[in-house]
Subunit: 336 residues, 3 copies
């Protein structure tokens, strides 16, 4: 990559401020920039770096007015962050992708691998697996019997997908994720527990991202369902028969117990826990480390464990911090 | 599978109510039923589905009286849930199991693999490993030197068992679990930390289930012990020298720090954390997201972080939610 | 191993109290000792075991005075724990290490493997990988393109390292850890989310330990950095562009969101959560299950979620536990 400010501005439909012949050959964060780097500045928190950065070109929003002299060439666009992200995607797409089917992979005889798929070393693709076009399966992945993987989906190294699960198109599953292990179902039998067989599966729709070492358990019966556009971060636990609505986003280390239903467009913070058999409406937002043990209405914004409306939590916590003071006031009143 | 209500009722020792010739060929949850499906209804919360389900047969408890007309054929049994679970187990047992030893597995020359074992592609079985009858080792599993695995145990894809660990009979270890990695032991040396070698092992007794991506660390010396009948969910952390008593159940993402001892028949909720060197008595129940930093008496039912008796926590939390109101009352008193 | 008390005392520069010819052939915890075992006693909490242990030799601190008769031979040293740890390390070093390069590993043609490295079965070492002397790569590990691994580092079974990441010297990465998966970066586009490509990498410096199934995400741009001497336990989440300062220690299941910076010599408890874009100073200590949502000054000792100074938390919590009593007092005041 070696592009001038002019070329970039033309591609983005932006305006150059400074030397249009300045060239860059890489991306950098504005606070880590050096000569030849292209950066962006969208968050005002980072504005001070604009005046000191060594990056050669910085993309900024068209209505931004610098408070001082700027050494870098600026490119002004309607939305600096989104323009920059677009360039990153362009770069990402230009990078070489692994190709071909390794002779060291173990692919069942009945599986048809489309010509443009990648299957890495020591991957296992079992009987009855169906693969779409442009599927990439990295080394050490295990694709159980009868699994379906849609076109354009990438399965990173060491992912384990148990039999009968379904993965949609244009999904990304990161290393070490486990899809379709048994749900945690045991029935007491005296002092022991008897296993409830988990004969359902996992269905992941299109455009879903699953983070590293995240676990999505198979359903007892029916399906655990991750709807289209859902983004799951790393080390998340999704219990059996859970259903996550379209375009919901779940941060790392959150957990959802069996049979809970999450609406569309929800945002679940890191380390949040949901009890089982709950229903959360569309657009619910749960702050990090919250815990939920009852149904939640659409649009709620909650925090705490057990969770409560976020502003209510903050007001209560502000008093909690100073409870000794409140006790002192009650002591004083009692003395009177 | 294609069974009539009569055949199922005879097998279960139940009574048919409706057409005994109705047949089913699959299982379904009552709320997802369709013609040809067998369901059950045990939890009153799901009773309303009984009157609308399309399932052809529903197993119910013998003393259940429907509040309205039911389209499905009913089979009445003493315990609907347990009867249904029994049928699921019957079905599960009838499914074909993987068999044989893959020529693509790497099995050390000194290991005797009983004829009825399964060893999948790219599994590694190291020197000195001992395998019982009917052991199943799925692809990409790593069985370290000298590991013992008891009869009837299933090791799912990508499980890593470090050297010298012992797994009992009829256990199930789900994909990505790590058994016997080093305990987290470091001693300060000036500003650095020096590693304390972890020369012990992990001992897992019979009938234990270990969830996907769960980690059980080896002991510094001696053994980390998971007693018979214990059920561990996914993404759990078990520190070095921990001991978990018989038939205790631990939900996903809980963690137990080094040298803690858990009694028999305990129930530990999701995302619970135990500090190190604690002793919890038999039958302790910890609500989800609780934190424990001291020894706990047998039979305690706790919640919160730090944990307290569950009812006490709920009473305190109810006031916490409304602390601003309490402050207002104190303000009013002070004004008088 | 078969050593006399005299030999051990000479090696440690200690003094024997009892029979110098007593021999031991293994290590044991003092509470699990048997004839022929070597134990230590450093923590007064374990002193009572000293009088009942069957271990043949016990290492104690030179200034320890027993409160009663001791059957075992004692060896007195300046620091019992550190002396014992030194013996464990000596033992550990004497154990045979795996060696050689498995013909069943897949090593790219352009990779030079130093003669004293170990590469296990079904390991994948991709194009452009650089390996130092004495590197050990266990089975099923995946080393992506262009990864650098420094001398003396051990990569346990099933570790996944994405392309372009850098691991220092004398590091240990435990089974199932994932280094360099994509950071969790998505930009809203209407109701959908568009992926922000993560084109940075992970840089792990020397003497770092990474626990089993821990995830360290690659940077969006630049590097996620784990400085020398850092110790990460199991199942930890490290977000993109995080930086962890030298010799900081993080307990299991903690999580740090994107772009947070942790100082040197910090101690982060189990299941702690850090929000993104925070700065924590040197020597910060966070109690287990704490949550942080703002910058923290060097040397702070915090607890709670949101976190506050640890003593302040304990005082507030002590009142929280008994809030119903406080309400009763306010009720009584109002009646007057």
């Amino acid at each position: 990559m070696n592009f001038s400010a002019l070329m970039i501005a033309e591609y983005l439909g932006g305006v150059v401020e400074g030397d249009p012949q300045t060239t860059v050959d890489r991306f950098a964060k504005i606070e880590e920039g050096s000569a030849g780097a292209l950066s962006f500045m969208a968050n005002p928190k980072y504005e001070n770096y604009l005046y000191t950065t060594d990056s050669s070109i910085v993309i900024v929003s068209q209505d931004f007015s610098p408070a001082g002299p700027v050494k870098a060439t600026l490119i002004r666009v309607p939305d600096a962050y989104s323009a920059f992200a677009g360039l990153l995607r362009l770069y990402e797409q230009s990078r070489p992708k692994p190709t071909g089917v390794s002779p060291q992979a173990a692919i069942a005889a009945d599986v048809a691998v489309p010509a443009n798929c990648y299957v890495g070393e020591f991957a296992v693709v079992s009987e009855g697996v169906s693969l779409g076009e442009n599927v990439a399966i990295y080394p050490h992945s295990y694709i159980g019997q009868g699994v379906k993987i849609g076109a354009g989906t990438t399965i990173h190294a060491g992912v384990k997908i148990y039999e009968g699960c379904v993965i949609g198109e244009n999904c990304t599953v990161h290393a070490g994720a486990v899809i379709g292990a048994d749900g945690f179902g045991f029935a007491p039998e005296g002092e022991d527990y008897a296993k409830i067989p988990q004969i359902g599966n996992v269905v992941i729709e299109d455009n879903v991202d699953i983070g590293a070492n995240t676990c999505v358990d198979r359903a007892t019966m029916g399906s655990t369902v991750i709807r289209r556009g859902v983004k799951l971060d790393n080390l998340i636990q999704i219990g059996h028969n859970v259903e996550i609505g379209e375009n919901s986003v779940v941060a790392a280390q959150a957990g959802m117990a069996g049979s809970s239903k999450l609406g569309r467009g929800c945002m679940i913070g890191g380390q949040v826990g949901l009890a089982g058999h709950l229903t959360l409406g569309d657009g619910v937002k749960m702050g990090a480390q919250s815990g939920i043990d009852k149904d939640i209405e659409a649009g709620s914004v909650l925090l705490g464990s057990p969770a409560m409306p976020v502003m209510k939590f903050h007001r209560a916590w502000a008093i909690f911090r100073n409870l000794p003071e409140l006790v002192a006031r009650v002591n004083a009143l009692e003395k009177k």
